[in-house]
Every structure is written in structure tokens, then in C-alpha cells.
């Protein structure tokens, strides 16, 4: 599977990840990813048939909050570090043309 990281793949992944890579960075990314994946392919040596994937290390289940309002309006504090705000809302470039 490795070695197949071409520039198109890098471009596609950078769209997903919202990263803009220069031509040089794209080449480097293709090389780094290819090498890393080649190394990761080592996992294929292992027979994992019938092994359940584990995402949580502990069998902890059903961690809930009760449905009561605990938060107050802290808009001002939340927006202190915001790059651009207007009328209490976060300002972004226009989303529809």
C-alpha cells in the first residue's frame, strides 16, 4: 500500500485537512507519508482475525450528565480570544455566494 502516496492523494488529503501545501511541501508530504505508511504496514504481519478493535482502554460505560441547566451566559469571556466578532456573533467570510 505504501509508496502509492502520489501528489493527487496529498492534494486530496490536504483538502480534507484544510491545509495549503506549497509544491515543495506536497512533495515532502508525499515522501514522509509514504515512508511512514510503509513502516506502519508492519502491522500487516500480525494476524488480527477475530480480535475486537479496542477504542477505550477501560470498560467504562454510561457516563451521563443529568438534564439540568448549569451554565450561565459567559459570552464575553468566550469571545475574548476570538479573531472577529460582530453583534455577539463570530464573524466569518460569507458562506454562500
Amino acid at each position: 500500500m505504501a509508496g502509492q502516496i502520489d501528489r493527487e492523494t496529498v492534494e486530496y488529503i490536504s483538502i480534507l485537512a484544510k491545509l495549503e501545501l506549497s509544491g515543495e511541501e506536497q512533495l515532502a508530504a508525499a515522501r514522509d507519508m509514504g515512508r511512514m505508511l510503509e513502516y506502519i504496514d508492519k502491522l500487516k504481519e500480525l494476524d488480527t482475525d477475530g480480535v475486537e478493535p479496542v477504542s477505550h482502554v477501560f470498560p467504562v460505560y454510561n457516563v451521563f450528565r443529568e438534564d439540568t441547566v448549569t451554565n450561565q451566559d459567559i459570552r464575553e469571556e468566550l469571545q475574548k480570544s476570538a479573531p472577529a466578532c460582530k453583534d455577539g456573533a463570530y464573524k466569518v467570510p460569507r458562506t454562500v455566494e
Partner: protein, 493 residues
């Protein structure tokens, strides 16, 4: 005793006794930072006035007997990926350059409740991605033992601050070895607790299923004190675990007679520096002489831990770091045309190369057509790694091994070859994958005068046993207390 020689617990005792005030301790640390940090660069942010103000407030409470714990008045440093209310928290990244959190991490709140005085925020690899503290957007941190060398990473700033005597202790975070490896490189003691022991609320996530906050300190006793202060069952963190006991200090002095120590032969083979191997064997011998039963055994799976780790950590990171987009907080690029251009420029300018590398890898392994082959496969391998440890802990109480393949490398050698740098995590990452506690204890110096760390690994929730073993190992092989002679202040810097 000079303040420099005191551990956090010793300082705390004197503060309680009224021999030293919290204000004097804070003044000492700030002057020490002024003196040393120009060269070490362990800190990203120190707000002196705030520190002094807090120290004065704490001192008043101590005098009113409202604060009587071992950490009251002790200056601590906090890694810069742990949120501190009103105090800039950057993750050593340009993208959070101006981020002042509106809340504190649960661990920080607990430290403050214990009366610790937060000195400032320590340098780290950007978003905790790295093993050298060279990927910080705010300059590299240098190893106090030899400033041509790295302090390790990613909690390099926290470890260097403690080693340089700037802070009496610190909080770090450990996703794949980020507390234990720099502790080993800096000759300090660092503990990564069982997953779920310290709340992750307020820790800026890298790999959520692996991240844990833990203490960095001068010795095992300090580590135990800090862990006791910061650990809790926190309802704000769904992965927090309700433990039976949060007492990590009262069993410390007990002996280790009959304790079964396993030495994984997989950790002693190719790739391990000879001097480190010798330090591990010496440590094993010391424990044996204290009555422990030490034997080599094949742990298995060691070589698969790193690839599994990089798949899982990168995948989680690619998603965790998506929120940094220039909309709600942090950096936004100057010029852009439309939304997506704003996203891409902001993120490309805001993140450094190592972070981008991991976001790209993580996005790839989750992308359509690769999820099963990479991500699910890695989660299956993780299950096998957990099983290998489960088997080992049927036979042994504690596992002993190196914390890193070598002592601290020279600055500039690691980043050129990322894969090689990743391989340096071989002895630490599986502990995170399995959610286990691990501690790095100083185990001597190499021929170049750089510290070597020994790692002890315990079974889940077995911190008490782990700390007891570490305490005895520290007593036997030296730890910080002995090193201070040959590494006295002047020699050290």
C-alpha cells in the same frame, strides 16, 4: 539547606513551619528563571506580578491555617497545553499565540486548591507532537545538563524547568512518553498515571485516548504528592475513572521484598544504547538486592507499538486539531478570499511542519478506503498489546526497562529524520496504548555527563505499588538527591 536543594515536599514542610514564606519561594523561583531561562527557555509565559499576587494570597491562607497541605506555597510550572484561566495557553503553537483560556483545567484547579503557586507555562513540542521540544513555535528548550542537547519532549520545558531549579515541580502531559522520556533526559522523575486518573478537562487534546496529565518532580515522593493533589474523579471528563483510592503517599516507604519485577528482553535488544542497558541492569540488580525477584521475560508486541501508536495518535490528532480554524479563538490569517481559503491559510501558517505531518497522516488513515486497513487494524493491534501486558502482569508486579534508547541527543539531530525520531518512543508508547501507569526515575549518568532514566511500569490502577518500587529504586540508585553533588549549580548550566 539552600532552596535549590529542596524538593517540593521539603519546601512545603518549611513553609508550613514558617521558616520560608510562599512569597520568598516564589521570589526565589522567579529570580532563578530570570537567571537561567534566557539560556534554557523552559518557559513560554511567566507573568511575574500574577505569580507574586498569588503567592501573597497563598501565604495569607497558610498563616490562617486554611492551607496545610504539602504543596501549599510551592511554585510549580504548568505545561503550556494545560489551560490556565486568564493566563495565555499556546500549546507552543502560533495558532494559539493569543489564546487566553476562560477556564482552568481541572488539574490546575486542584493544584491551586492545594495551595501551589503557578509560576508560568512551560515550553513543549507544538501540540505535544515531538520528542525534543524543538518543534515549539517559541524557540527550542535546552537541556540544563548540557545546553547543546535537547531536553527531550514533548514536556521538555516542564522537565528542564525542574532540572534547572527554576520550578520545584511541574505538570506535564504524556501521550506516547512525553513525561517519561524528557524526565529521563533531564535527570528528573516523571509519572504518567493510569488513563482516567487525572481529569483531561482543560488539557488541549492531542490523542484523546492516550493523553494523561502527570507530575514532573525532583523525586518520587514529590511525584506522589502532586499526583495525590491533581488526581480526581471528574464528571466533566467522560473518560475519568472512579478509583478506589486516591492515596498515593502513605505506602511510599514500604519495602519491596518479594516483589516480582519483570525485565522485558524485547526492551534490551538491538537499538538500545550500551550505557543505558547497563544502567537498567544495575537498577535490576539494586532491586534484587532489596529483596525483589527480578527476571527477564519476553513481553512481545514491542515492535508493533510504534506503528499502532502513530496511526491512532495521528488519527485522533487530525480530528482534535480541526477546531483550530481562525473562527472562535487564536490566530487568523491576514488576507484571504472566502471561507475555505481562510481555513487553509490560517492553518498552514498557524501550524508547524511536524503538526501538519501528523494531521496529514491522521486524515489519510481515516479517509475513505483506508479506515479498516489502518485505523481499525491499529485498534486491533492495541488489543493485542493490552493482552500482552495483561499476561505479563499475571506473573509480575512491576515491569522494569529503559525510558528511552539513549540519553539526550544533540540539538538538531532528530528532526531531519522523523521516522527515526518516532522510533525513540519504543519503550514508552505501549504504556499509553494499554492505559498503564509508568514512571521514569534517574538511573545514573552516561560518560558524557547526561542523565539516564529507568522506567517502571505498573498494572492499571497500581500506582501505589509502582511508586513504592520507584521509591526504593531511587534510594538504591541515586535519583536527584545524589546527582546534585556532581551536578551542582555551576556545573549544571
Amino acid at each position: 539547606m539552600e532552596m535549590f536543594d529542596m524538593t517540593a515536599a521539603e519546601l512545603g514542610k518549611r513553609i508550613q513551619a514558617g521558616e520560608i514564606t510562599a512569597v520568598e519561594a516564589a521570589e526565589y523561583s522567579l529570580s532563578r528563571i530570570k537567571e537561567k531561562d534566557g539560556q534554557i527557555n523552559a518557559f513560554i509565559t511567566v507573568e511575574e506580578e500574577k505569580v507574586m499576587e498569588n503567592a501573597r494570597r497563598v501565604q495569607q491562607k497558610i498563616e490562617r491555617r486554611e492551607l496545610t497541605g504539602p504543596l501549599a506555597g510551592v511554585p510549580v510550572a504548568v505545561k503550556d497545553n494545560i489551560c490556565t484561566e486568564g493566563l495565555r495557553t499556546t500549546c507552543a503553537s502560533r495558532i494559539l499565540g493569543n489564546f487566553v483560556p476562560p477556564y482552568s483545567a481541572e488539574a490546575v484547579k486542584r493544584l491551586e486548591e492545594a495551595g501551589a503557586v503557578i509560576l508560568g507555562k512551560t515550553n513543549m513540542d507544538e501540540f505535544a507532537m515531538g520528542s525534543t521540544t524543538e518543534t515549539s513555535a517559541y524557540g527550542i528548550t535546552r537541556n540544563p545538563w548540557n545546553t547543546d542537547h535537547v531536553p527531550g519532549g514533548s514536556s521538555g520545558g516542564s522537565c528542564a524547568a525542574v532540572a534547572a531549579g527554576e520550578a520545584f515541580c511541574a505538570l506535564g502531559s504524556d501521550t506516547g512518553g512525553s513525561i517519561r522520556q524528557p524526565s529521563s533526559f533531564c535527570g528528573v522523575t516523571g509519572l504518567k498515571p493510569t488513563y482516567g486518573t487525572v481529569s483531561r478537562y482543560g488539557l488541549i487534546a492531542y490523542g484523546s485516548s492516550l493523553d494523561q496529565i502527570g507530575p514532573v518532580a525532583k523525586d518520587v515522593t514529590d511525584c506522589a504528592c502532586i499526583l495525590e493533589a491533581v488526581s480526581s474523579y471528574d464528571r466533566k471528563d467522560g473518560t475519568s475513572v472512579k478509583r478506589e483510592s486516591y492515596d498515593f503517599t502513605s505506602g511510599l516507604g514500604r519495602d519491596i521484598k518479594g516483589m516480582r519485577i519483570g525485565l522485558p528482553s524485547d526492551y534490551l535488544g538491538e537499538g538500545l544504547d550500551d550505557e543505558v542497558r547497563k544502567a537498567v541492569m544495575d537498577g535490576a540488580e539494586a532491586m534484587r538486592s532489596l529483596g525483589a525477584i527480578v527476571e527477564e521475560f519476553p513481553l512481545g508486541m514491542a515492535e508493533y507499538a510504534i506503528p499502532a501508536y502513530y496511526v491512532i495518535a495521528s488519527a485522533e490528532a487530525s480530528s482534535n486539531l480541526a477546531r483550530f480554524d481562525g473562527v472562535k479563538y487564536g490566530y487568523r490569517t491576514e488576507e484571504y478570499e472566502g471561507l475555505h481559503d481562510m481555513y487553509k491559510k490560517t492553518r498552514s501558517e498557524g501550524f508547524g511542519p511536524e503538526v501538519k505531518r501528523r494531521i496529514m497522516l491522521g486524515s489519510f488513515v481515516l479517509s475513505s478506503g483506508y479506515y479498516d486497513a489502518y485505523y481499525l487494524k491499529a485498534l486491533r493491534v492495541k488489543a493485542l498489546i493490552m493482552k500482552a501486558f495483561d499476561e505479563a502482569f499475571k506473573k509480575y508486579d512491576i515491569i522494569l526497562g529503559p525510558a528511552a534508547p539513549s540519553a539526550a541527543p544533540e540539538i538538531g539531530c532528530s528532526l531531519a529524520d522523523p521516522l527515526k525520531m518516532y522510533l525513540g518512543d519504543i519503550y514508552t508508547v505501549s504504556v499509553n496504548l494499554a492505559g498503564l501507569p509508568g514512571i521514569s526515575v534517574p538511573g545514573g549518568m552516561n560518560s558524557k555527563g547526561l542523565p539516564i532514566g529507568l522506567q517502571l511500569i505498573g498494572d492499571r490502577f497500581q500506582e501505589e505499588k509502582l511508586l513504592r518500587a520507584a521509591y526504593q529504586l531511587e534510594k538504591a540508585v541515586g535519583g536527584y538527591g545524589i546527582k546534585k553533588e556532581e551536578a551542582h549549580d555551576e556545573q549544571r548550566i
